[in-house]
Amino acid sequence: MAQPLSPAVFHVLLVLASGDRHGYGIMKDVLAQSDGSVKLGPGTLYGTLQRLIECQWVAEAPRAGPRTVQGRDRRYYRITGKGKAALDGDVARLEQLVRVVRAVKEGPRGSRS
């Protein structure tokens, strides 16, 4: 079974799955997507991105035209096929977990004596 992804990695991949983003965009979207429960600091975000790039789950997006924000040239990031597979794997794992929890909670009716 694949290792569970850390919340930071999971949310970064999930944000990138919906399109290329620059660092600050990822930070804001992770915050919004997790209802404020995952607050990625800038250093943590770039550390995470560096690791994801190293294991080829994320890559720098090729530039299509100027990509400047407030006059600054920004680097955009894109999820790779490997990253999508890892994200899908973790989503499947979570779904399985939820199914197990539901089954345990609902339980076989009348099993208690």
Partner: protein, 164 residues
């Protein structure tokens, strides 16, 4: 420029300058790769938070960025090959400090007892002076030397792992 706007611009500039300085604490390779983006994010977050929530928002954005620094710095340094060197350097500096304080402790106690007993201290006590100097110079010197060596080693390491 209105005085209020001028003050705000200066506050933001000094906040960014401090943050830029703090970013130098990251390992060289990480710094080279991401410092520019970290700065840009800091600036963008500052502007956006100030526009949305005023000074309180700006303070919150800065607090978030600063609060993240110790954790991410630790993580990034732990990812380098140098934690054992840092541990050894800390041990060496602590040992030097301990040894010099321990060496000076006895004579200092004698000196204190003489003074407390009303016996005038010797006019010239070069040993004491030397011990006091050692107590100060040995730890400071060893810390400077060890950190210098580590910094040089890390710079070299940073250059060798530079991304293309």
């Amino acid at each position: 420029m209105a005085p209020e706007a001028d003050r705000l611009a200066r506050t933001k500039a000094s906040g960014l300058a401090c943050y830029r300085l703090a970013l130098r604490l990251y390992p060289q390779a990480f710094y080279r790769q991401y410092a520019e983006e970290l700065e840009a994010d800091f600036e963008e977050a500052s502007d956006e938070s100030f526009r949305a929530e005023g000074a309180a928002g700006l303070a919150r954005a800065w607090a978030r960025a600063w609060a993240d620094l110790p954790w991410s710095l630790t993580r990034e340094w732990l990812r380098t090959a140098w934690p054992p060197a840092v541990v050894l350097a800390t041990l060496a500096a602590s040992f030097a400090l301990y040894a010099s304080v321990f060496r000076a402790y006895g004579p200092l106690q004698q000196y204190r007892q003489r003074v407390a007993a009303g016996i005038p201290p010797p006019q010239d006590s070069p040993e004491l002076l030397w011990l006091m100097l050692l107590m100060v110079l040995v730890p400071i010197g060893s810390i400077i030397i060890v950190s210098g060596v580590i910094t040089l080693a890390l710079r070299r390491k940073g250059r060798s792992t530079r991304r293309v």
